[in-house]
């Protein structure tokens, strides 16, 4: 069996000032999956990615990329990795074409104009290939960053906060691209603090906070395990307080008393919904609309962090 595309063992990081950004981290990423590293600002996401990519030195531990140690076999390991860092960093005087071709060369790959062309077309950069980076909008610059990271056909792509401050069109294009990459067998690891993003995109999610990997779970499983559902009733007449008849029910008011929200366990035999609706009917609490939704990963995340703290 082939080794995992990425295997992180007991990796720690203490920065020069003495600040420990990563407690021992263990993580294995399977080939071809989309993995989301989810955590608030300062959790250590960028640090972990930077260690794998070689831009930050680990304090201890070991990282294997497709079985190649990132320290002793760094050439092989790094040539498999593409990195789109959190912040845009480009030589603003270079043209798009030149800077993307440069990246490919830097990673030791022979020129392949046809591939670069298709890459630039995929990222809607082709028409601007001879423009200098300085002339581009922020969104276009981010596309250039992605093109550079993909220029050497990496098998493992890191996207660090790919949608922070990104417009809707780019966000959509980016997810389309990520899915296409996955279809060609590329493994994608992204970091985000937008929970819905992880939920929407990732096969698996790793939750990280305070330099600790709190849990790693298949996204769907995580949702099922910890996910609650929510029934939202839009009331005919707004209420100021929850009526005493509903004492003991996990309900709360929302939208200035115009909505009544009921949380229930999605996996339970009895969701309690029929009983609740009957009760409301008896008490003459009418509603004009209803909606059910899943609790977002955000709620799950908040609960996890609270539990660990």
């Amino acid at each position: 069996m082939s080794p995992p595309i990425l295997s992180i063992s007991a990796v720690t990081k203490t920065y020069k000032g003495g600040f420990t950004a990563l407690q021992p981290i263990d993580l294995a990423i399977e080939r071809g999956e989309i993995f989301a590293l989810l955590g608030p600002n300062g959790a250590g996401k960028t640090t972990l990615i930077s260690i794998v990519c070689g831009t930050v030195a680990m304090t201890s531990g070991q990282v294997l990329v497709d079985g190649h140690d990132t320290r002793t076999s760094y050439r092989t390991a790094r040539s498999m990795i593409g990195l789109v860092p959190q912040e845009i960093a480009l030589d603003i005087f270079a043209t798009i074409w030149d800077t993307v071709v440069f990246s490919r060369g830097l990673f030791g790959k022979p020129p392949n104009p046809a591939y670069i062309e298709s890459l630039l077309r995929d990222l809607s950069l082709w028409d601007k290939r001879d423009s200098r980076v300085i002339e581009l909008s922020g969104g276009m610059k981010r596309r250039v960053m992605i093109a550079k990271a993909l220029s050497h056909e990496p098998e493992l792509l890191f996207l660090d906060e790919p949608t922070a401050g990104v417009d809707v069109a780019l966000r959509r294009d980016m997810w389309a691209l990520v899915r296409r990459l996955r279809d060609t067998g590329v493994t994608v690891i992204l970091t985000t603090h937008y929970i819905d993003e992880a939920e929407e995109m990732a096969d698996r999610v790793g939750v990280i906070d305070g330099g600790r990997l709190l849990l790693v779970e298949r996204t769907a499983q995580l949702m099922r395990k910890l996910g609650k559902r929510r029934l939202t009733l839009v009331l005919q007449r707004p209420m100021a307080t929850i009526p005493p008849e509903l004492d003991g029910w996990p309900v709360e008011l929302a939208a200035d008393g115009q909505q009544l929200v009921y949380s229930f366990d999605a996996n339970a035999e009895d969701t309690g919904i029929p009983t609740l609706l009957r009760l409301l009917g008896e008490k003459g609490i009418d509603f004009k609309d209803l909606d059910t939704s899943r609790t977002s990963l955000e709620d799950i995340f908040v609960r996890l962090v609270e539990r660990v703290a």
Binding site: C53, V56, T76, L83, A89, I92, A94, G108
Partner: protein, 258 residues
Amino acid sequence: MSRSSLNVTGMWAIYRTEMARMMRTILQSVATPVITTALYFIVFGGAIGSRMQSVGGVDYGAFIVPGLIMLSLLTQSISNASIGIYFPKFTKTIFEILSAPLSFGEAVLAYVGAAATKSILLALIILATATAFVPVHILHPVWMVAFMVLTSIAFSLFGFIVGIWAESFEQLAVIPALVVTPLTFLGGAFYAIDMLPEPWRTISLFNPVVYLVSGFRWSFYGVGDVGVGASLGFTALFMALCLAILWWIFRTGYRLKP
């Protein structure tokens, strides 16, 4: 790319990009030294030199040519190489170099090679400019080229270190301004060391630039302030020192990797 082989493609990518970056400012790069050199010739060679006797049998105008070229070679090598590595640090594009399958030595070679190439090109342009003003003879052309290459590499290595050390454009400018320019002006570019009174003459022997200018002038006219062996020895020593510092930078990740 096989596991152990050099990443020649990667080095070439850096070298080409660096040369392209330098060529973007080729007009300033060439105009400044050419104009400066012409001014030196008019002032030192023409106005002052006409009143001076020849130095060690060499016409004063011709005498200052090697010194002027060396001066440009030193300052250009340091500034090209220091900006070459400082700029990616400043724009944060250095992440790409650090994450590439490229050894530290390969990166140094590519950056230093580009910086040295450009300063040698400029030195040759200045040499050509000089021949428009004074008759220049080159007694040992091979040695002249050897001195150019060695000096430009040694000081590009030094510039690379300065670029890694610097954390602001001010710091980038401070080493050339405070250290290199005084040493070059006091390095015998415009005079022979034995024209100085004691103790300056002895003190001058501690100035590394004296050895470079002397060796370089020897390659032109067969005369120098110190022996050519001492000149070569010094250049080699300086280069070794820079390489040792770079080795330490590589081992510790100094100012490159947090």
